[in-house]
């Protein structure tokens, strides 16, 4: 078992702690601080959230995606051929993202997350940091396509561009690479397309490759997941209870990202409740094939509650570990 998180972490704390990133971005927007000063704050806050994750007991962390406004525009801004458009609701959340508008052929221009990952790994020391990207299929689904006018072409164009990033991550010895693909749950009929792009991505990455889903049901994908050439498949067991049905048939050839702590509700799970859910999974899945994590990224919660949730998650895992010894 490995204790991990899905992707983002709340960017600002609540009083009495100071919301310094919010203030810094506001000051930068008003021209009161320089880009360098803002970057310094981004780094400081990234260090803080790395420390928080580690102190909570997370064993495979992220950089918290502190620089990301949302899962789409942070990537799209660094690719050629894309403009950033209006605000759209992110799935069923009261959270919004800026829509990428595809105006021309998509091309990789500059490192997207490589430098963020390098810095985060340096600050995290011997705790591994996973590199996280939004997957090509989800990027395509959440974009407005004024160029390819074809979902398959657009998805493959995103994949081709992101593979340039994957190559860099591989060169820099990234051990864990995760792509988020929540959109596939809403269009299970596109699974062949998903398969095709992950077969391609797999060629360029030798470490642990993960695909994470969240917010919805995975049951329509149940018999297909095993075909994905990946090491870890993440599922949200909170938003849809019926996803527990997948446990008994979960593929033996990969690990499960077991999303059991509610990333979208403040109600705090107890370590006992978490331990029970882990034991339920251990009936079907080998210990070494379980990554225990929240149901989604943690930015839907106030920072302090996100931390408490991680603390209890780690306590729950350790209860089970203790009993096993």
């Amino acid at each position: 078992m490995i204790i991990t998180v899905v992707d983002h972490y709340p960017k600002i704390p609540n009083p009495p702690r100071e919301p310094k990133l919010r203030k810094a971005i506001h000051a930068y927007d008003q021209g009161k601080i320089t880009k360098e000063e803002l970057e310094k704050i981004f780094d400081e806050v990234t260090k803080e959230v790395i420390e928080e994750q580690i102190s909570a007991g997370v064993e495979l962390i992220t950089d918290g995606q502190i620089r990301w406004e949302d899962g789409q525009s942070y990537i799209a801004k660094k690719l050629d051929g894309i403009e950033i458009g209006g605000l759209f609701r992110y799935f069923d959340n009261n959270t919004y993202y800026r829509q990428p508008i595809i105006k021309d052929e998509i091309r990789w221009r500059e490192p997207i997350i490589l430098n963020d990952w390098k810095k985060a790994q340096e600050w995290a020391g011997n705790i591994p940091v996973k590199a996280v990207l939004t997957g090509p299929y989800t990027l395509a689904r959440l974009s407005r396509d004024e160029y390819y006018k074809d979902l398959e072409k657009l998805t493959k164009a995103y994949a081709k561009a992101l593979i340039e990033e994957v190559k860099l991550l591989e060169e820099n010895k990234v051990k864990y690479l995760q792509f988020n693909e929540p959109s596939i749950q809403y269009y299970p009929e596109d699974f062949d397309l998903l398969l095709e792009i992950y077969k391609e991505i797999r060629k360029y990455f030798s470490g642990k490759l993960a695909t994470y889903t969240y917010f919805h049901t995975v049951l329509p994908l149940k018999d297909r997941i095993k075909d994905l050439p990946i090491d870890i498949f993440g599922i949200d067991f909170v938003s849809r209870k019926e996803n527990f049905e997948i446990l008994k048939d979960f593929p033996k050839n990969m690990a499960l990202g077991y999303g059991i702590v509610d990333a979208r509700n403040t109600k705090l799970e107890t370590p006992d409740q978490i331990a029970q859910l882990i034991k339920q999974a251990l009936n079907y899945i080998e210990d070494e094939n379980l990554y225990i994590n929240p149901s989604a990224g943690l930015e839907y919660l106030p920072r302090e509650r996100a931390y408490e949730k991680l603390v209890n998650l780690a306590k729950g895992v350790n209860l089970v570990r203790g009993e096993k010894k």
Partner: protein, 329 residues
Amino acid sequence: MLVVFPNQITLLKQETNTQKVKFPTLLYELELKATEEVIKMQEEIGVDILVHGEMERGDMATYFAENLEGFTISGLVRSYGNRYYKKPIVIGKIKRTKPITVDMFKFAQSLTKKPVKGMLTGPYTIADWSFNEYYDNKRDLVLDLAEVINQEALDLEKAGALFVQIDEPAVPTHPEEIHIAKEAFQVSTRGLRSFIITHICYGDFRPIWKEIINFPVHQFDLEFTNNADKLYPLIESVGFPPDKYIAVGVIDVHTHRIESVDEIKQRIREALKHFRPEQVFIDPDCGLKTRTWEEAKAKMENMVKAVNEIREELIKQGYPSEITIKLEL
């Protein structure tokens, strides 16, 4: 008609909220003053059915939660970019202990002879946009909120509201829960005798259109500027009840750009291909809170000009210049 005017004093409010309000009277006076300005501005522009501008509200769900028993308010969560809000947390059984929106409605209505809309957030949306630490299932939470919104709507009517708007932007996000939203809407509107409006935005209506159009309302207020490519095909394929009214959003509230009168007239003409003129109300896509007052005013002025020009054309073609609205549902 318009929904929400930009909230000039948001910043001040947030600060006072976090620093334990020392001058509530001052804040309240500022809210009243801003409301006066919003009413005056709408009258000058020539809007027919006004809103009070929601100067007293921070977030459309949180404002109600702050004034109800059973809620507490969380720390900050991000909605997009650098914008954060305090999300409500349900920690007990929800009850209304006093009217929430009535005083501000009365004040706004006292400033004008034109009708001012009573503005409420729907029970499904308040529930969906809150953390829930108390109720075992969402239906119970939504239905308790529906009772509260119904009490509030009845009080608004007693205070003289001819138009009651219940906004439900969260409804399209969970098509599988549409039956809960519908049941709650029926409870919220029980016994009402006013013109009932619902505004729903940012959504994909395709899976729920057939259900939504049978909600007990007189008017649907939808974002036809940002969502025209999805809404019109639905209206063409599934239809729209001929006895209901439609408020057609003709202003994009998320751009700084001021749409020209011709552009807006084009959007109105598109609407008139799908609805009879007497079914149609015209408004911006959504609340104008994210625009500056200058932008909002300029957008609204062009909108009213466009409406007046199209009205002239229609009257020349023989359409009556007044309509009578029947209120039974």
